[in-house]
């Protein structure tokens, strides 16, 4: 309604500039324009159509690229560097040189049959039946500790004795936003499809190799899970291609990253930190140089959560965008492609979370009671690490939520599924005066099953004060 009002005023002002006589008919013209806006047809824009057309366009882009011989082969430009070093020089060299040959599509087609490799940059979503992914609850209570870190705590287990913060402040999140009515009884949960390993092509080649120390072909029905290689140049990189996870990561080849303060780092000052523009420029240049596909990501942002302790590597994040919605982690931080910049030597030191973006979608029961969602938000969302309260509780204000995807892991007995669950992201609109808050948002998933699980908020970490 407000948008229409602004639009009407804008059109009228334009008319008055053309001919000031229109002003005497202001009332009639307002009604006329209002009517014309009111009878605008509903175009029935279909998100499925949008997703399907995007896939067609991405396929067309790949066709164009293969015709121009541009694209995935760039990833393997490293391999043509004559200074690359290998554990089994001759044999591995021939394996690795053949890999780009397999993907380097020429007119005669693939050399070893088409690889079953799902590293395609294309985006796809396939519909499956309702509740197709089974229970959204993990069979064990496992939580990822920290941002980007690895770690797990089993339910009921106690962490090693740690020092409890002397004055730990609990937060109570108070909603100050609009009242919302939820009308959807189902939400679309996405599960990322992974490669499952490479069976033909490269694996056949590996099986046929004779290193002289053992016979690899005796391992029947094998599939290639991962390959990795390194550059043997100053500040060279290592690349790991994970076929099972359909992911690629790039990291420092630490042997070649030698600089004065490597072993004994001196503290960095705020003045050592380059501006955001410079950091983004460096990240963009690296992305461009290695042909990394950014079609699924939004504009890059520099991460500043380190506040005053200047780290050696600063993160430039390219947020993942699916169906025009940003993806967040369980702590309300944007999730996406990570590019680390080493600010001592002013070089990109790593790229992580580069994965295929092929999904299945399945409908799950949604929470329709906004009050239930606010209950979880009031406690800080579903991933709050709770400490025994010191007795001090401080109110933190949160505002009207926006709709996003929350990335979560669903751990089953034989596999771990990556899920994107529609969620409400509540912005923290007023930071507390006491305590140090590192969060900017509270995120609450809208799938009822996950919300129900979170009522108990996962494991509580028991801490003991050192004697």
């Amino acid at each position: 309604m407000n948008n229409n009002y602004k639009k009407i005023e804008e059109i009228l002002e334009e008319l008055y500039l053309i001919d000031s006589n229109f002003r005497q008919y202001d009332g009639e013209l307002k009604k006329l324009i209002k009517k014309l806006l009111a009878i605008k047809p509903d175009s029935k824009f279909d998100d499925n159509f949008k997703a399907e057309l995007k896939i067609k366009l991405l396929k067309r882009i790949e066709e164009i690229k293969s015709q121009e011989k541009i694209g995935i082969s760039k990833f393997f430009d490293f391999l043509f560097n004559p200074k690359l070093s290998y554990a089994f020089s001759g044999a591995i060299l021939s394996v690795l040189l053949l890999i780009p040959a397999i993907y380097y599509v020429n007119k005669s087609g693939y050399l070893f049959g088409q690889p079953e490799l799902d590293l395609s940059p294309m985006f796809s979503i396939d519909s499956v039946s309702d509740n197709a992914f089974g229970s959204l609850r993990s069979i064990e209570q496992v939580q990822e500790l920290g941002r980007g870190g690895d770690g797990s705590i089993q339910e009921g287990q106690v962490s090693a004795p740690q020092v409890m913060p002397p004055e730990f402040v609990s937060y109570n999140y108070v909603y100050k936003g609009d009242d919302l009515v939820l009308e959807q009884d189902k939400v679309e949960v996405l599960k990322r499809k992974k490669g499952g390993g490479e069976r033909s092509g490269i694996m056949n080649l590996v099986n046929s190799l004779d290193f002289g120390i053992m016979n690899l072909s005796t391992f029947k029905n094998s599939k290639l899970s991962m390959i990795s290689f390194v550059q043997d140049i100053d500040f060279g990189y290592g690349v790991s291609v994970n076929f099972s996870e359909s992911s690629v990561s790039i990291h420092e080849n630490w042997e070649t990253w030698q600089y004065e303060t490597r072993s004994v780092p001196t503290p960095l000052e705020i003045s050592d930190v380059p501006g955001d523009e410079k950091l983004i420029e460096m990240a963009n240049n690296f992305i461009k140089e290695h042909g990394i596909n950014l079609s699924m990501y939004g504009d890059p942002e520099v991460e500043h959560s380190w506040k005053t302790n200047v780290p050696e590597r600063i993160l430039v994040l390219y947020p993942l965008v699916i169906n025009d919605y940003y993806v967040y982690d369980q702590w309300g931080n944007k999730f996406g492609l990570r590019v680390d910049v080493n600010i001592r030597v002013m070089k990109v030191s790593g790229v992580y979370n580069l994965t295929s973006q092929n999904y299945e979608k399945s409908l799950y029961e949604a929470e329709m009671d906004f009050a239930e969602i606010l209950k979880v938000a009031g406690k800080g969302g579903i991933s709050l690490m709770r400490f025994p309260s010191s007795g001090k509780t401080v109110d933190v204000e949160i505002g009207t939520p926006t709709l996003v995807y929350m990335k979560t892991w669903n751990i089953q007995s034989t596999e771990t599924n990556e899920l994107l669950v529609p969620a409400f992201l509540f912005p923290i609109t007023k930071q507390p005066e006491e305590g140090t808050m590192y969060q900017n948002n509270i995120i609450v998933p809208l799938a009822k099953e996950i919300l129900f699980e979170s009522e108990n908020h996962g494991p509580v970490f028991l801490l003991e004060t050192e004697q």
Binding site: L15, L57, I64, K65, N293, S295
Partner: protein, 191 residues
């Protein structure tokens, strides 16, 4: 939620070989182009087909787009408009003017969504009286929310001419539709 995209820079990247950047332009314009075509055809499947053709043509031709000759946005809308014209050219139409999209929608066997019919009837009661070009400018300004500059680049007329046409059309509509009818129709719409 997503920062404003600089079309020029994206097009430059595409022309230098980073074709996957086209995805950003797609995300920005897909709904606008679909709506633009839908308001001319009033048929979902037709609008989807023509929208697909528009983006595929744009992708195939991005290397030939010259930013000095106008904005990417106007270029894309022109492709869409031409696709609609070509589509109706290929249909049997008798003596109907192929440029009169609204005429075709209602007078031939061209399908349009049944639930749009009621609104079409209302729309026809005044927009139909207008010349096609005048109608098109009104729809592009009010429904598509395009600026006069964009409209001028799309239909190939000067900006001043587009403004004049719009203002004269509004004058005619105001005169032809009595205030009482407007109030009645507005009341009917709200209920």
């Amino acid at each position: 939620m997503i920062k404003e995209i600089n079309d020029k820079e994206i097009v430059k990247s595409c022309q230098k070989g980073s074709l996957h950047e086209f995805g950003k332009l797609y995300n920005k314009y897909i709904k606008k182009i679909y709506n633009f075509i839908y308001y001319k055809s009033c048929h979902k499947e037709t609008a989807e087909d023509l929208t697909s053709q528009t983006f595929i043509k744009a992708l195939n031709s991005i290397s030939t787009f010259n930013p000095n000759k106008g904005s990417f946005s106007s270029w894309l809308y022109r492709i869409a408009r031409n696709n609609v014209i070509d589509y109706y050219k290929n249909k049997e139409r008798g003596t109907i003017d192929i440029y009169d999209f609204w005429g075709l929608s209602s007078e031939t066997n061209v399908a349009y969504d049944i639930d749009v019919k009621e609104k079409l009837d209302q729309v026809e009661s005044y927009l139909r009286k207008l010349k096609m070009e005048h109608r098109e400018i009104v729809i592009m300004r009010i429904w598509d929310n395009l600026s006069y500059k964009e409209i001028s680049e799309i239909i190939g007329k000067s900006e001043a001419s587009c403004k004049m046409t719009f203002s004269r059309t509004m004058t005619n509509l105001r005169k032809e539709i009595p205030l009482s009818s407007l109030l009645f129709l507005l009341f009917k719409t709200l209920n």
